[in-house]
């Protein structure tokens, strides 16, 4: 049994509270005279503390409000999550597109970096295979010649005997535009040197039109 209820034990000689049936004026109810011969009537009543502990309106309000708060929070959360889903899906599409672009550019790079394309461009720009490279032996200081690259066709890499259909329609570099680009880059890179040594006019400055290269044939 819970101790929250006060009770009177019939066996107890001194019940907690014994109230013979009386009316408000303390007069005995005449109708109840017969009951007097019956065993003592015991009634469950609440203590003051228990009465104070009864649920109050505030509690129910708090409960209901917090329920609503929880529901609202959940709703908001799910809105945020699904909003995130849209964002995620948008970003995933974007990522896919960017990956595709990367793949396509990589593919292009590989084709442009193919041996045929490099060789043809080198020949187009007037480069020839190194016919007699030299070795310098660092241990002995001796210089010896290497066989070099034979060029029996006389066209360097420009013969395009080894086909590559991916290069169809891919233009060769334009020597004039390369020179123009070099010229455009050279002054800006030469700028700091010119600022630091403005007096050194007699020193041959970097001529943007001529690349520094040994004269070979």
């Amino acid at each position: 049994m819970s101790a929250n209820f006060a009770y009177a034990n019939p066996a107890d000689a001194r019940p907690l509270r014994y109230e013979p049936s009386r009316d408000a004026n303390g007069q005995r109810d005449p109708h109840q005279g017969a009951a007097r011969s019956r065993p003592t009537r015991v009634e469950i009543v609440t203590t003051r503390a228990q009465r104070n502990a009864r649920p109050k309106l505030a509690y129910s309000v708090v409960t209901i409000v917090s329920l609503f708060v929880i529901f609202a929070a959940q709703l908001l959360l799910s809105i945020v999550v699904s909003d995130g889903a849209y964002q995620l899906s948008g970003l995933q599409v974007q990522q896919k597109e960017l990956l595709r672009t990367e793949q396509a550019l990589l593919e292009q790079l590989q084709v442009l970096g193919s041996t045929q394309h490099l060789a043809a461009n080198a020949a187009h720009l007037g480069m020839v295979p190194g016919s007699n490279p030299l070795y310098l032996d660092l241990a002995t200081g001796a210089v010896s010649s290497a066989p070099g690259t034979a060029d029996p066709l006389g066209c360097g890499g420009g013969c395009s005997m080894v086909a590559n259909s991916l290069l169809n329609g891919v233009p060769l570099v334009d020597a004039a535009s390369v020179a123009a680009q070099t010229a455009a880059v050279a002054p800006s890179s030469a700028q700091p040197a010119a600022v630091q040594a403005p007096a050194a006019q007699s020193v041959p400055s970097a001529n943007p039109d001529v690349l520094p290269a040994p004269l070979t044939n």
Binding site: S82, R100, Q110, P133, S144
Partner: protein
């Protein structure tokens, strides 16, 4: 009475409620238990979207990582003729749309219209297939509602014909040739499947994605080939073949220390990007698949065998006239008249058939056969190339009296260019034959490497026999008739020529030869062996490709930065 009616009413209500609850329970059990799977499946079908995720086929790269074959994304542009024709003013709209598509794809709009009109009821026809990303995006931007796109995986070979013979290609039914075919286990990817649930607007419901199968990417296949050397040799061989009018030409560059193939070229060859334009015989690699009677290049292997057996030395003497009749074997002749009193070294420099036949009698046929087999003839190489040939080396017991001699100078047996390169690698490597290797390994995304080639060599002849043979071959480079075309200033190298007759039905053809030059450099410590071969429908001699061999060898030495020789060539007596 009142209470009784009330009770009846209550009983009635309870019964009704009970019946209703029963109906609900039955229905509930029916839906939740009995037909649960079926209904779940149905509902999932409405929401679930199956997504095939593609694995990517692996790359094929050369020894330095240059990409020879790569997977690329391509797009098919498809159309629904039914949907397009159902529109208002269909013909005008379609003609306008097709004209705009055709401008991007550079097709003829009339051809596209024909596709639509061919089957007006169809929901799926190709307008064009395999377009690149730029084209796809341009067409997609046109926003034509009855045009659809499909992603497909394509294959690109950025270097075209460079190593096209080795890499192979992929047809509509998958890999068709080369290592694309034989190494498919490494390269192949598997597609994955994932399922997600989508909302009404098609956006996937967060957290609903279930991957039922992960896609796996293929591994990266690394070849031993050097792309730039391969390109150079291919170009040089093509030029030589055109000058000679050769029907085919091959070149093989093999690294001596480990048997790795640095370059294997074929003429004609295939551009894997454009297989349709290639001749049928150009689709494979002749160097692996087509054996020929090698001719005199075998003589140095005979010499090495005899030296190893201890029955001859470099200066063993023999009398080798232009032609000799061997008992039971008929007359064996030389190609040229020359000095008759030859040493073993001289017999190689003069490429004397009669001298080689005479020396061969010093060793039993079985032993000579075993030496040839040891050099790798009659056996598939370790490469296992698609359609590879093992060549033919009959057992000694099946040699007739004439074959007993001819096999020692390369007639009556056949070999592929790669087998020849392997035999010369053996001589160059001090008599130890290394497994021929084309595939360096298969590198998986997780970093593991499989298909690592074997590295265990087998000794065929002694180191001394191999060294002495290379010395004699150096005399060919310095003293033979083609010597002027065989000089690489600063380098010593060893070589042997061969002009082989081509067997046809009923004998040898009069106007067909296989020219070859095979050798190694630097002679004092060989690092690379080279074999160049050309099939010519003409009566010409091997000297015609001597300069081709020299150029390929010189380029090999340059590419791999081999330092020049520092010691002088030997000078062995050739005659007595």
């Amino acid at each position: 009475m009142n209470t009784r009616r009330a009770r009846l009413r209550i009983s009635g209500m309870v019964l009704v409620v009970f019946l209703m609850v029963t109906v609900f329970v039955v229905r509930l059990v029916d839906i939740q238990v009995v037909r649960a799977d079926e209904l779940n499946a149905q509902s999932l079908e409405k929401r679930a979207q199956e997504l095939v995720t593609y694995g990517v086929r692996g790359e094929i790269v050369d020894a330095h990582g240059a990409v020879l074959a790569d997977s690329v994304e391509r797009y098919d542009i498809t159309v629904s003729p039914r949907a397009s024709l159902a529109r208002e003013n269909a013909m005008g709209v379609i003609a306008d749309g097709l004209a705009r598509i055709a401008a991007v794809t550079q097709q003829n709009p009339d051809d596209l219209m024909a596709v639509i009109l061919a089957d007006p009821e169809s929901d799926f026809e190709y307008l064009t297939q395999g377009v690149t990303l730029d084209t796809f995006r341009a067409v997609d931007a046109l926003n034509i509602p009855w045009v659809y796109f499909e992603l497909r995986n394509g294959r690109s070979y950025p270097n075209g014909e460079v190593a096209g013979n080795l890499v192979g290609f992929i047809g509509t039914d998958g890999p068709q040739a080369g290592v694309e075919y034989t190494e498919d286990a490494c390269l192949a990817s598997t597609d994955g499947v994932s399922v997600y649930e989508k909302g009404e607007d098609g956006v996937r419901i967060p957290g609903s994605e279930v991957t039922t199968r992960e896609p796996t990417n293929g591994g990266t296949l690394r070849l031993t080939i050097d792309r730039d050397l391969q390109w150079w040799v291919q170009q040089r061989m093509e030029q030589a073949a055109q000058q000679l009018g050769a029907t085919w030409a091959t070149a093989v560059v093999i690294r001596v220390s480990d048997g790795n193939l640095m370059a294997v070229t074929d003429y004609p060859t295939v551009d894997p990007n454009n297989v349709d334009d290639a001749a049928r015989e150009a689709l494979g690699s002749v160097a692996f698949t087509t054996p020929y009677e090698p001719g005199s290049t075998i003589k140095v292997l005979t010499a090495a065998s005899l030296l190893d057996a201890g029955v001859v030395s470099q200066d063993s003497q023999i009398l080798a006239p232009y032609s000799v009749e061997f008992p039971g074997a008929g007359v064996i002749s030389n190609a040229f008249y020359g000095p008759e009193r030859l040493t073993l070294a001289g017999s190689l420099v003069e490429s004397s058939n009669t001298a080689t036949a005479g020396f061969s009698d010093l060793l039993a046929p079985e032993a000579r056969h075993d030496y040839l087999a040891g050099f790798g003839f009659g056996e598939y190489t370790e490469v296992g190339f698609n359609g590879e040939s093992s060549g033919t080396l009959y057992p000694a017991s099946e040699w007739d009296r004439r074959t007993n001699y001819t096999v020692q100078f390369g007639q009556g047996m056949t070999a592929t260019s790669v087998q020849m390169a392997s035999a010369y690698q053996t001589l160059a490597n001090g008599g130890v034959r290394m497994p021929v290797t084309l595939v360096e390994g298969c590198e998986w995304p997780d970093g593991t490497v499989t298909e690592v080639p074997p590295t265990e060599g087998t000794r065929v002849v002694s180191e001394a026999a191999a060294r002495q043979t290379v010395e004699m071959m150096e005399m060919v480079a310095t003293s033979s008739g083609s010597a002027p075309n065989l000089q690489i200033p600063g380098y010593r190298f060893a070589v042997k020529s061969g002009t082989a007759e081509v067997a046809e039905a009923g004998g040898y053809a009069d106007n067909k030869v296989v020219l070859s030059y095979a050798g190694m450099a630097p002679a004092e410590d060989p690092l690379y062996a080279v074999v160049v071969t050309a099939g010519v429908n003409d009566r010409v001699f091997s000297g015609r490709i001597a300069s081709t061999f020299r150029d390929v060898m010189a380029q090999t030495l340059t590419t791999f930065r081999v330092p020049p020789s520092t010691t002088p060539s030997p000078n062995l007596p050739l005659t007595w």
